[in-house]
Amino acid sequence: MVATSTTSKVSVRDLTIRYGQNAVLRNASFEIPENEIFGIIGPAGSGKTSFLRALNRMDEFTPGMSVDGSITLDGKDVQTWRNLYALRRRIGVVFPLPVGLPLSVYGNVALSPRLRGMKRPDLDDIVERCLRRAALWDEVKDRLDALGSLLSGGQQQRLTIARALSQEPDLLLLDEFSIAVDPVTTMRIEDVLKELKKEVTIVLVTNLVQQARRLASRTAFFLNGECVEVGETEELFTGTVQDQRTRDYVEGRFG
């Protein structure tokens, strides 16, 4: 990979995403710095998830989805990666609703390393390490062979985080991970994320503005397909905002 002189992990330039004729994100440009949590807030339908999908090129399998402009990862335009799968392996994704694949707890976390040809006992190590990093190890270490889908919702979401970590990604995308998770588990996962950001760049899409405030160093505000404002998170909440809509949203006046 080309190392660039900037500390930007991801650069977004004039990004427009369309489904058919319908643009869900227009001319967005911003930088995501390395090793910090970058929040994206905004109401439903503002283009947040579409941005994540464009980032790991999930548009490839979505008929009608088209992406213009550029997203670069480590200075290289993601559209120019010839091996799409290598790109996706570097990007971990956590979906809103936990998707426990129909495999055991162990099998879920081991899937990605297995696809890359890793065998036991290395596999055991990586499974344990990822489950520990996702703060799940102590709860599941005695039932690694149980079906992942038998875990509670909060555990499943941490399982998907462990699974994403098993890819050893340098970019972790979280799409409203706390939707199906209780507040206590949410707090635990947030603690996990604070730890992880030392090693991994995290993009946190959330519709809980306070969550972005707790976690993100910088935050972007999306509204109806427009990237309204990007800035230091605290600035958005307390300082001067460039756009009154940002203030209205973070203070809960709409959305």
């Binding site: 996706r88 392996r89 570097r90 994704v93 979906f95 899937l111 990605s112 297995r114 696809l115």
Partner: protein, 305 residues
């Protein structure tokens, strides 16, 4: 004051109540009649065949002798081993062909094909499944037969190979349809999650979709086996229909079902031959019942998880 909606007397039976009651009775009658019919058929087959089972049947001969000579004047024998071997070899050969074909087709239709291609293929496969078996038998007789004679330089082309191929082609569309349903039942979230991890298309299918659809796929294969076991007309026309312990794919064989179809018309109702054929019927009934039951239990296995 707004209009008060009449929510009805507690004891007045209105139209909706009656309709509900009538529909309930009709649906019950529909459901129960299926059971009544199947029990009736079973009772009939058993009644007709049981005289033989109790009186004339020599159990050891029945299952171990390859000699099926129910019309012999001197010493009639009723050994079904050759017929069983015929049915089993044809079915086995058919599965050898149709399982890879139909699973491949199901994976293509379910996982790779999109839009128009997919819809067209689905309709075509369903049309294939609707081709009457006598038409398949005709193909076996008039197309495959000379083809096999030409290609392999054998005297007769009506043989296990022919019947197995025909039966394989017949079973494939049904297996494809059911297998494709099983693949479709796998939530898209699984595919998306695996794809997001960088799994290739093939890895997604092999490591995630197929394991998740495993039970449905097994059920599809079992239903194909059941179909093969029970198929009569096409097998009768393509197999050569001669009593023979098959030693190679070019040997003509005879199937249980075809035996019943071909011989029942020549019997006198109630005589030993007639009853013996019904005993074959009981056997077929039992085997297909077990296969279907297994398929059903396997499918239920999916829902438990």
């Amino acid at each position: 004051m707004s209009t008060v909606i009449d929510s009805g007397d507690a004891d007045r039976l209105d139209a909706a109540w009656w309709i509900d009651r009538i529909v309930k009775v009709l649906v019950f009658a529909g459901g129960i009649s299926a059971i009544v019919f199947i029990l009736g058929i079973f009772a009939f087959v058993t009644k007709e065949g049981f005289g033989f089972v109790l009186k004339d049947m020599d159990v050891v001969e029945f299952f171990t002798s390859p000699n099926w000579r129910p019309t012999s004047d001197t010493k009639p024998t009723h050994g079904i081993l050759a017929l069983l071997a015929g049915t089993a070899s044809i079915t086995g050969f058919a599965m050898l062909i149709s399982v890879p074909f139909s699973l491949g087709a199901a994976i293509y239709i379910g996982e790779f094909a999109t839009g128009k291609t997919r819809e067209t293929l689905k309709v075509l496969v369903e049309m294939l499944a609707a081709i009457p078996s006598v038409v398949w038998g005709f193909i076996g007789l008039s197309i495959m037969n000379p083809l096999i004679i030409d290609l392999f330089d054998v005297p007769v082309g009506l043989c296990m190979l022919n019947a197995g191929l025909i039966l394989g082609l017949m079973a494939a569309p049904i297996m494809t349809t059911i297998a494709e349903d099983a693949l479709k039942a796998v939530p898209d979230g699984y595919r998306e999650a695996a794809e997001a991890m960088g799994a290739t298309r093939w890895q997604v299918i092999w490591k995630v979709v197929i394991p998740a659809a495993k039970n449905g796929l097994v059920a599809a294969v079992l239903l194909g086996v059941g179909r093969g076991f029970g198929e009569t007309m096409a097998v009768l026309m393509a197999s050569g229909h001669s009593i023979n312990m098959p030693e190679g794919v070019f040997d003509p064989v005879r199937a249980l079902t075809a035996t019943i179809a071909a011989e029942l018309g020549e019997t006198v109702a109630g005589d030993t031959h007639y009853q013996a054929l019904f005993t074959l019927g009981i056997l077929l009934f039992a085997v297909t019942f077990v296969i279907n039951l297994t398929a059903d239990l396997v499918v239920r296995g999916i829902r438990k998880k």
